[in-house]
Symmetry: C2
Subunit: 406 residues, 2 copies
């Protein structure tokens, strides 16, 4: 059971035949198919599987010890953004299973349990909160609020979990599970092209920029587009437009990133002025002070433009992740292991959030990145070369062997 075989098995699950992109949203049919693949694969490797109260999956290579050793966990996520690529998330899980298969083949005997985790709703594509599974596990999200999160069709997380046969009453912090984890190492495709520029197949993460997601609601009044005089209009599309441009300007001025990738105009008829426009701002910056300045600049323009057009405006933070510095000792040890294995692995920062970034608040974590030659991510065109995926498995195998060795 090697990387290519495992990869080929998972590849068709949740893939849209028209776009070629993935729609693996948590607690949907494709998600259930991903979970079934995870369980099947773990069973073939002789791993014990488990689903925690938050819906995160775990596959354990247990050791016959007294249970006092802390586990070494690797993994990532199986869910996708709408029309996402094949690699973002699954690469880390397939690589983890492939590394364990290789260690088994080599007769490796771990001195401590090794776990493979698949965190649920990492992308926040269905319920709007990124890294929801790891945040709940770490106690960083209120379970009652999380149960009431709604998807675009008004289905709550509570309803979705029940429909999938899970008990939503069990979500929330799991101190016992966390306490048993010594380190978490996540392998992920790079979501930029820094490694390609450096000519390296694999890299080690330095830290993650602080970042968050804000929901902006502009509330106007639906009216006929052909009969309502301009001064009588309360059109929420116009302050949205001004705000989208202001966000880009603020990001440019302040050396940050700001994106509106999701906008919903209601009722959405070509010949009706919108009653409301809902939109989501993704913003990231090198430090939280700069991020605050970006949000303040966007909010100011939005409020002013809304006022000019007689439109109501509200801004609400949906998620926020402070700056993360991965554990320096773990990072340095990984660098030494990879150098010893003959792999050049430069250290690089990232603007992307990950479950590893969330867990870094509670346990030592590290990340390995695999080269993305175009840097394209969250798109069907996302790609990594087979040779680089293989290099990623080799690196992860060496890291697991070192950290869980006798």
């Amino acid at each position: 059971m090697n990387f290519a075989e495992l990869w080929a098995e998972l590849l068709p699950v949740g893939r849209d035949e028209h776009t070629g992109g993935y729609r693996r949203y948590s607690w949907t049919e494709p998600d259930a198919a991903c979970r079934a693949w995870f369980a099947r694969t773990a069973a073939r490797l002789g791993l014990r599987t488990d689903c925690d109260g938050n819906g995160n999956l775990w596959a354990w290579w247990d050791t016959p010890g007294n249970g006092a050793e802390s586990a070494l966990v690797t993994g990532s996520h199986l869910d996708s953004v709408p029309d996402g690529g094949a690699f973002d998330g699954p690469l880390g899980i397939v690589s983890a299973f492939a590394a364990i298969a290789q260690l088994r083949n080599e007769g490796f005997r771990p001195a401590r349990p090794i776990g493979v985790a698949a965190f649920t709703e990492e992308e926040g594509a269905r319920f709007g909160v990124a890294c929801l599974g790891s945040r709940l596990l770490a106690g960083l999200v209120d379970p009652a609020g999380a149960r009431d999160l709604r998807d675009q069709d008004g289905i709550s997380l509570d309803m979705a979990m029940r429909a999938a046969g899970r008990d939503p009453a069990l979500i929330g912090q799991d101190e016992k599970l966390l306490a048993g984890i010594g380190e978490y190492v996540e392998l992920h495709i790079e979501q930029g092209s820094v490694l390609d520029g450096l000519g390296a197949a694999v890299g080690v993460a330095d830290g993650i920029w602080p970042h968050g997601r804000w929901r902006l609601d502009f509330t106007g009044r639906a009216d006929h587009a052909g009969t309502t005089r301009l001064p009588d209009r309360r059109d929420p599309m116009l302050p949205f437009a001004a705000t989208a441009l202001a966000a880009r300007q603020a990001a440019t001025d302040l050396g940050a990133l700001a994106t509106f990738g999701k906008v919903i105009a209601e009722p959405g008829a070509a010949n009706a002025i919108s009653s409301s426009v809902h939109c989501w701002l993704d913003a990231r910056a090198p430090d939280s002070k700069v991020l605050d300045l970006v949000i303040a600049a966007v909010s100011d323009v939005a409020a002013e433009a809304a006022g000019m057009h007689g439109v109501g405006f509200e801004l609400r933070q949906e998620s926020f992740t402070p700056a993360v510095s991965f554990d320096p000792a773990l990072r340095d040890r990984i660098a030494v292991v990879l150098a010893a294995a003959g792999q050049r692995a430069p250290v690089l920062p990232t603007g992307a959030g990950h479950d590893a970034g969330v867990l870094a608040a509670r346990i030592p974590t590290a990340m390995l990145f695999v080269r993305n030659p175009t840097g394209v991510s969250h798109s069907p065109a996302e790609h990594a070369e087979p040779a680089d995926c293989k290099a990623g498995v080799t690196a992860l195998t060496a890291v697991l062997a070192d950290l869980a060795g006798q």
Copy 2:
């Protein structure tokens, strides 16, 4: 069978329980329910019903003559914009049936056939072309192109009609049906508040501004919102935003109307740069030269902004209706009839398109408007007072009696 009873029967059909608005899209379940209501009502009035090849419904009060008399037709449409109001369209049809019921009660014997028409897809809410049913009937739309029009889910008109049990091969110009119609008089709720300002319950239409719908497609590249440097982005949301603001500016400068009420960002994830943004411009102006200037101004800004962001841009006209002047002789005759009946009915222009505007190219047409106290239209808040609806029925009854009298 009076107006209030007929109105109450149709009111719940296709109403969304959350928004209170209507979603009566052509060839859907609610549309079928509206059609069944039309057939039932016509049957109770002793009218013969028919569905033409384009899916427009007809109810005929036939006369025992030799068939040489041209018919007098009244009517409107039953379909709605997304979350539209109860009055836009249905008011004209319910009023037509109520007027015929009253004429029957009074023992009126028409000298020529009277028809009630319900035109399909007037709003263009499903297939994007407003007044599609009347345009097809009048030979103003290519049938092959119309069959291939797609709704938001990729369903073609061809597929939708087949699913509803209609033969799409039959759509297109119907010269025989048109030749049999002498005049068309449409009653409609006003989609502004001019009548309210004048203190009149009913008005007569002067003409319709030239107007149309344009689809703009901005094609960028999906990328991760957290890792793609600003200069590397090809984000189609930004030229869309610049274009939405430019459209309003052009309309203000030129004394026209321009609206973006529908926008679709794909893939639509909060943490992904959009691969494409599709949006629809509704534009109307007092004359076609001004309208051309508005479209040119919007197109110039869109092309320039798209170029700045490395984004592809295409603009395509989806529908266009030239300026309409309703038949002056018919308008004047109606004014005389209403004055004789003691109803003050001022003459007013409108920016809204109607099937009457389409048919005006082929047959003498006229329109009656019923007061809309707030002017709100294409919204669940659209409203007309019962007394004004009754005044509308009285006016339409007088007009039918005059035009189809012995």
